[in-house]
Amino acid sequence: MSLETWEEDLPALAEGISEVLVEECDPRSVHTFFDGGNDLDKALWARAAELGFLGIGLSEEFGGLGFGARGLDVLYRTLGRAMAPGAFVPTLAAAQWLEQVGPEDLNASLLPEVVAGERTFAVPFALDGEGVALNDGRLGGTTPLMLTSRDATTAVLSVKREGAAAFALVDLAGVGFVANDIWDHTRLVGRYTLDNAEPLAVIDDVDGTAAATLRSNVALGIAGDCVGGARAIADQTIEYLKQREQFGRLLASMQALKHRCAELMRAVLEGEQALDQGVEATALGNPAAHMWASLAKALAAEKFFFVADDCLQLHGGVGFTWEFDAHIFLKRALLNRELSGNNAFHRDLAARHLAEADLAGVSTAELTT
């Protein structure tokens, strides 16, 4: 149950996406992918392209469905529920960002390729450092840590051009990549090594708007993954307690465990509410949208970890096995806390935003919608 974001004309589409994922991204396939035994990431990507889901957030002029931030949110939550692997968050967050900050001609050539499933993006793991120096229009050396996917076609890099902040889009064909061997095998994180690469495009970011927008887009994607994942593992755990008997009774009848389940669902709902606020503020172009996106990411990631951790514990011994889903959700929760900047980083960003608003005499009532 998500609240206001789902109230409009999205439910039918959400239902469609959910059906596809239930069928094609079932836990068994995810476990096999986790152990390197299938190409679920590519299969899902191809299917999503075929069904038009990749354009859910983009405008119709680029071949998209025009649902904007709300549409993307529905997709991210559903992918999170299914522990889905693939290029979704980095690609769709970057594509949406291009539509927001990129030049028209670049968008006209790149975005239809995203919708068709032919172009995938890698984005910075966290936009919290200095950009890479752009020398004579070219980039060399090892990139900062990136959130990417197998066969990603294009990297979005934070760069400095003559000392000024900018973003470079770099073609990744033939570029060396070293993956970090992370605990969460459903996602791909690593560094590219560029050899005097000439960017496809450079987008100036004198006032930091492009960086803030990309950061918010990725943050909302990660937050969507968090609330989807939290609800899925909480539901699954409560169902498990309704089946499992010990001491001659169902675990679900024990008050100590029932109260914990109530707290799990409260955490799920709180994460969802924070994200609803972030998505709504973004969709409506609220001036405080970046603040709400940061706050949503921090809270959703915190709640997802709390839920995933306790759900593993509530499963007991089987929860601790590689074969059960609980550890995959937990590892996704751990990675999500760090992605797009950790929760402390996001709260500090939001605090600066709030302080500026307070200084300007804007009340929190005006920051909310």
Binding site: C261, A262, M265, A274, A344, R347
Partner: protein, 392 residues
């Protein structure tokens, strides 16, 4: 007039602001802190002032003397009153919410005509439900009512009854059948608090307020015409009464908490408070700020759903709202104590319901996690009725 402008939000808000700016200048708007008499007369004054502009019982249907104000416009009214720093109508909580919820559904025509119009004239009602041995397990109540001709004779004790020392009437739950299963032997009454045998003793709460009291009932005679519903059918009636403890009332309280948190932050910025430079405390504040906004969202969503006639999803959200809202108020108060530092430990003797003292805020929040269904009861309801986990 305000009510003529409800169809145009800007004009409606404008009219409310004009009225509030004017009416809240009266000395009665600011009761003397710590002075109960001053509080009660301020509350009666506020009800009278609201009534003058048609806002005494605006959420009631027209047939019962209300104006059938839409939920959206009730929310705007609450927002504007809170924004202007106006008083709550705390003394009239039962009069405005529990009494009408009960009588609209279960009252006789005579009971409705007799009791409802008094509310906008300042008649105070209280609730006689809980007993020393029937708190969370309300259905085990033992206050005894025995039929005697056209009256019932009531003996027993009630507790945690807010403002009963000022109340003119009470909604009362009694046991009329001690042999039936506990939910099937309860009868619901309307009690005139001036009836001989009614004695009220105030209790001082942990937050320093003497808001609730014990009610002792000794051979109290209640006419049969003041019974609501049939004999032994009172439990179902009481569920209607209790379901009214939500909606705009909690929304208004939550809005006050939002202003309280906002002012706390604003003053911290103005005074360059140390906690703003403390990473842990500042981040904790941002988390509470997020959670409060989430709580506002879910409350607004729930009110909207309920106006449409509710839904299974909406019903499932009700216990979460109580749990989230009250736990959050407690946590915000507790945060304010740590952020304020040793100064928060200073006891400020003269305070009232709207005091922003950190310890008072925390303790009042703590009280909220106990009253009207404790957090533990909410967790029972969530697990059993929403998550369908079996009873233990």
């Amino acid at each position: 007039m305000i009510l003529e402008k409800v169809d145009d939000e800007t004009a409606y808000r404008g009219a409310l602001r004009e009225w509030l700016g004017d009416v809240l200048r009266a000395p009665e708007a600011t009761p003397t802190p710590g002075d109960h008499k001053s509080y009660v007369s301020s509350q009666r004054w506020w009800m009278a002032e609201r009534n003058k502009v048609g806002l005494g019982t605006p959420h009631w249907p027209k047939e019962y003397g209300g104006v059938g104000l839409s939920l959206r416009n009730q929310v705007i009214l609450a927002e504007e009153i809170v924004r202007a720093g106006g008083p709550s109508l705390g003394l009239f909580t039962v009069s405005l919410n529990h009494l009408p919820a009960t009588l609209f559904h279960h009252g006789t025509e005579e009971q409705k005509t007799r009791y409802l119009p008094g509310v906008s004239q300042g008649v105070i009602w209280c609730q006689g439900f809980s007993e020393p041995n029937a708190g969370s397990d309300l259905a085990s109540l033992k206050c005894k009512a025995v039929r005697d001709g056209d009256h019932y004779v009531v003996n027993g004790q009630k507790i945690w009854s807010s403002y009963s020392m000022y109340a003119d009437y009470a909604v009362l739950l009694t046991r009329t059948d001690f042999d039936a299963p506990k939910h099937k032997g309860i009868t619901f009454f309307l009690l005139d608090m001036k009836t001989p045998g009614v004695e009220v003793r105030p209790l001082i709460q942990a937050n320093g307020l003497a808001k609730f009291a014990e009610i002792f009932l000794t051979d109290v005679r209640i006419p049969v015409s003041d019974r609501v519903g049939e004999e032994n059918q009172g439990w179902a009636v009481s569920q209607t009464t209790l379901s009214s403890e939500r909606g705009v009332l909690s929304f208004e309280r939550n809005e006050r908490m939002r202003y309280h948190l906002e002012n706390f932050y604003h003053h911290a910025r103005e005074s360059d408070a140390a906690w703003l430079k403390d990473d842990e405390l500042r981040r904790e504040f941002m988390r509470l700020f997020t959670e409060l906004q989430g709580c506002r969202r879910v409350m607004r969503w729930l009110m909207k759903e309920n106006e449409k006639g509710g839904s299974p999803v909406a019903n499932g959200v009700v216990p979460f709202v109580k749990l989230i809202n009250t736990e959050l108020r407690k946590n915000i108060g507790e945060f304010m104590i740590r952020a304020t530092g040793p100064d928060a430990q200073n006891f400020v003797p003269d305070f009232d319901e709207l005091s922003t003292d950190p310890v008072f805020t925390y303790l009042t929040g703590l009280g909220g996690t106990i009253s009207a269904g404790s957090s533990e009861i909410m967790r029972n309801i969530i697990s059993e009725r929403v998550l369908n986990m079996p009873k233990g």
